[in-house]
C-alpha cells in the first residue's frame, strides 16, 4: 500500500466533459518499455481494450486511475492529473481487478463492501443503507454476513464490483473481469457491465463482451494499432493474431 500525499485541491478544476486523456504517454519497467507513444482521449460510454498477453493492456488500465503513473507524458481524468491529484482521480475512477480474491480485503461480504465508504469517511447510517442497496442489486443480500472466501467465483467477482460501485465512481476500469469465470458467471458479469450507467473501460480477452461497445482499442507491443468501433477493431485483432 502506498500512502501518497495529495496536497492539491483538484475538485475546483475538474471538467467531466474532458473524459480520460493520455498525452504522449510512455511507460517502462526499468529498461523495458511496455507502452509507448500513447495519445488518446476516451469520452465514450463503453471502451474496450484488447491485445495479446504482455501487450501492455493491464498497464494501460492501471494508468487510468493512477495505480501506475507514466514514466513520460501525462494522464488526465476530467482534467485532473493522475500524478498530482491521485486521490481525487481514484474517487472518480473505480477499478475492478481480474482476481477478486486480491480485491476483497475484509472477512465478510458486507464489511468488504463498506470498506471503500469507510475510507471516504461516509457516516455509518448512510454506509449501511448504501451497502444494503448494492448487495440487494447484485443478489448478495443473503450473503451479507457470510465469509467472503466461501462465495463462488462469480459471486466473488460480483462482490468486487459491488465494492467499487458502492463508492459511486463516475467511471470504472475493469481488468479482465471475466477471465476466471465460467460461461454462466461471465455472462452475468457482462450483463452487469452492460447495464452500468457509469462510463466503463474494459480490458478483456472476451471478444463477445465487446459486441455492443462504442469503441475498442487494440494494443500490440505497447502501442495502439487499431482504434475504432467494436466490429472493426475485433476484426483487425483477429487478423493480427491469425498472422502470427
Amino acid at each position: 500500500m502506498r500512502f501518497r500525499r495529495d496536497p492539491s485541491s483538484p475538485s475546483a478544476v475538474a471538467d467531466p466533459a474532458r473524459g480520460i486523456e493520455l498525452l504522449g504517454v510512455r511507460h517502462a519497467y526499468g529498461e523495458r518499455a511496455v507502452l509507448d507513444g500513447l495519445d488518446l482521449r476516451l469520452t465514450e460510454h463503453r471502451v474496450g481494450v484488447i491485445g495479446a498477453n504482455g501487450s501492455g493492456k493491464s498497464t494501460l488500465a492501471r494508468l487510468l486511475n493512477g495505480l501506475v503513473v507514466p514514466t513520460e507524458g501525462r494522464v488526465l481524468v476530467d482534467g485532473l492529473d493522475t500524478r498530482s491529484a491521485v486521490r481525487e482521480v481514484r474517487r472518480r475512477v473505480g477499478f475492478v481487478f481480474q482476481d477478486p480474491d486480491a480485491q476483497i480485503v475484509h472477512p465478510t461480504v458486507a464489511e468488504d463492501v463498506a470498506f471503500g465508504l469507510e475510507n471516504q469517511g461516509v457516516p455509518a447510517a448512510e454506509r449501511a443503507v448504501r451497502v444494503a442497496e448494492v448487495l440487494e442489486r447484485y443478489g448478495l443480500a443473503g450473503h451479507a454476513d457470510h465469509p467472503a472466501h466461501l462465495l463462488s467465483g462469480g459471486q466473488k467477482q460480483l462482490l468486487a464490483i459491488a465494492g467499487v460501485l458502492v463508492m459511486r465512481p463516475a467511471r470504472i476500469v475493469f481488468d479482465e473481469p471475466t477471465t476466471l469465470l465460467d460461461l454462466v458467471n461471465a455472462r452475468r458479469v457482462a450483463r452487469v457491465i452492460e447495464e452500468l450507467p457509469q462510463a466503463v473501460v474494459v480490458v478483456t480477452h472476451d471478444l463477445d463482451l465487446l459486441e455492443s461497445f462504442d469503441r475498442v482499442l487494440v494494443v500490440d507491443a505497447g502501442r495502439v494499432v487499431e482504434d475504432g468501433p467494436a466490429e472493426q477493431s475485433v476484426r483487425a485483432y483477429r487478423k493480427l493474431m491469425a498472422d502470427r
Binding site: 502506498r2 486521490r87 480485491q103 475484509h106 469507510e118 469517511g121 455509518a124 467499487v164
Partner: protein
Amino acid sequence: MTAPLYVAGSSLVHRTPAGVKLLLLAALAVVLFVFPTPAVVLGLLLLVLVLGLGTAGLPVALLLRQVRVVAVFLVLVFGIQFFVAGVVPAVVSVARLLALVLAAAVVTATTPVSAMVALVERVCAPLRLFGVRPARVGLVIAMALRFLPLVAERADRIREAQAARGGAVRGLRAVTTTVVPLVVQLLQLAHTVSEALDARGAADVPLHPEAAR
C-alpha cells in the same frame, strides 16, 4: 474449505458487546485456574454449553468442530493426568480446557469480525498520540482474518498440483516444495492487494474515523 466463524443471530449472547464478552472470557480463564475444583469447573463448562447451545442457539456441529481441533491435545492431557494424579484431576483438567475452548468458540461465533475490529480500534485509540492510526491496525487484523483461509487454499492448490505430477504429498520434502511457490504466489498477491487498497482509497482513511461511525 474453511467454515464460517460467525453465526448470525439476535440472542442475548449475540447482542452483548464484544468488549464485555472478551472480559468475561478472561474472567472465566482466571476462575477456572484459580478454583480448579470439580464443582466449579464442571459447573462453568455446563454454563458455557447452556449459553452456546441454548441461549445463542449455536449448532452442536460448530462446537464439535472446535473440540476436534484440540482433541489430540485433550486426550494427551487426560492420559498424563490420569497416570500422574488419577481420574478426577484428569477429568477436571480436560473439562477446564474444554470450557475455555468452547467459550472462545461461543465468543467468536456470536461476534461479527467488524465488532472485534472496532474493539481493537477503540483499544488502540490512545496510540494515536504516537502517530498510530487505529483504523489501520483494525484493517491489518481484518485482512489477516480474510487472507488466512485464502493462503490455506493456495497451499492446498500447490500441493494438489504437485501431487498430480507425482510430487511428494507428505513429509519434509512436501513442505519445502510447497513453501517456495506459496511464498512467490503470496508476494504476487500482496502486490495486487496493495494496488486494490490504493484503488479503494485506503490511503484516505480519516485521522479521526469516529466521526464517521
